[in-house]
Subunit: 178 residues, 2 copies
DNA sequence: CGTTGCATTGCAACTCGTTGCATAGTACGG
DNA sequence: CCGTACTATGCAACGAGTTGCAATGCAACG
């Protein structure tokens, strides 16, 4: 389970409440690892029971209390141990691929529409990633050592989304020709 | 749930037993949608109860009996309906990305080793896809209409694996320089 | 003859993640 | 004043998928 480790990374960078984490997952970290707030609360509870994180209730005025979580020494150890385990090959699951193979048995126009939508999604993410890169790392050779991971992940996102756009274009062109 | 639909596609192309399906998923279809044999048997059972597939026990000599599944009319309808529904955005999950963000808190050398392994996996898959393309579709402009889906999926695999290799190379180069 | 491996089906227990719902106070626009 | 939206936490039920195990019989290897 890598959600646990994604949370540990996020908390190692900065302590946060479950709510904060959910928003971070919606933004930066969620670009490569999605999680709903329910899942985050659930996992945080177990992680606290396991001693990987510790919480501190912070009262606020005008708002509900916050439970701010911080990573513990055991959590840092777990994170280091995680970095030492080899990543197992990722199971890729492409619903679009299933739909494409369903071409002879399905509705061609509907599938084309789906591909167009998918293309737009890839293009939007790509634009977002490129804007982030431009904004935070205008000079790639000057990226600090502690930002290196984030920068490389961003690069991965750009490469993946570019490939996604290219694929969709190829599909649309091929299907358009026939 | 798209496993159901991947099975329907596979059975629409040709009837098969659960065991056969598991092997197909290990080979062609599994390149974009993995499934274990247990999962396949479970889903097949439910699909039969739902009337999407029908089974026929075929005795064999020297081997256990086979339960050969065929798609039903209702199954074909379901497949057509599936092709009409828009695919929802895929949640990408990259364990490698989590490890990269863990760089400042983990073991750099171990992460580099992981990336090397991952690069080799991407390269192997890419070589396999390219060999398949060369073998089955030597002339892309001559791909038949009924093979179109499979061909486009193969192209998607090639694009994705190429992007994976490129990403790994970038990571290794960047980390090697520092 | 024993072991390993293939062919074939399946169950049980578990983890991971999703969906839907509940609660509760504050703030803001119409 | 009413509805909507944001901050904040969480439970319950379900569905999807993994891991581990079991059974049976044949073939091939050593």
């Amino acid at each position: 389970m890598a959600l646990e480790h994604a949370i540990l990374v996020s908390l190692a960078e900065r302590s946060a409440s479950g709510y904060d984490l959910a928003r971070r997952f919606d933004a930066s970290i969620g670009n490569f690892w999605k999680a709903s707030h329910q899942q985050i609360y659930k996992v945080l509870g177990r992680m606290e029971a396991d001693g990987l994180v510790a919480s501190d209730v912070v009262p606020q005025d005008g708002r509900p209390d916050k439970k701010v979580y911080a990573i513990t020494a055991a959590g840092r150890e777990e994170l280091a141990a995680f970095s030492r385990t080899p990543a197992r090959p990722e199971a890729l699951r492409s619903e679009l691929a299933v739909k494409l193979r369903a071409l002879p048995f399905g509705d061609r126009d509907a599938i084309v529409t789906t591909v167009r939508t998918r293309r737009a999604e890839h293009a939007a993410k790509l634009a977002y990633y490129e804007a982030s890169a431009e904004r935070y790392y205008p000079d790639p050779s000057a990226v600090g050592d502690d930002e290196l991971g984030a920068w490389l992940v961003l690069r991965g996102g750009i490469l993946a989304e570019t490939a996604g756009v290219t694929w969709c274009d190829e599909i649309l062109q091929t299907l358009g020709e026939r």
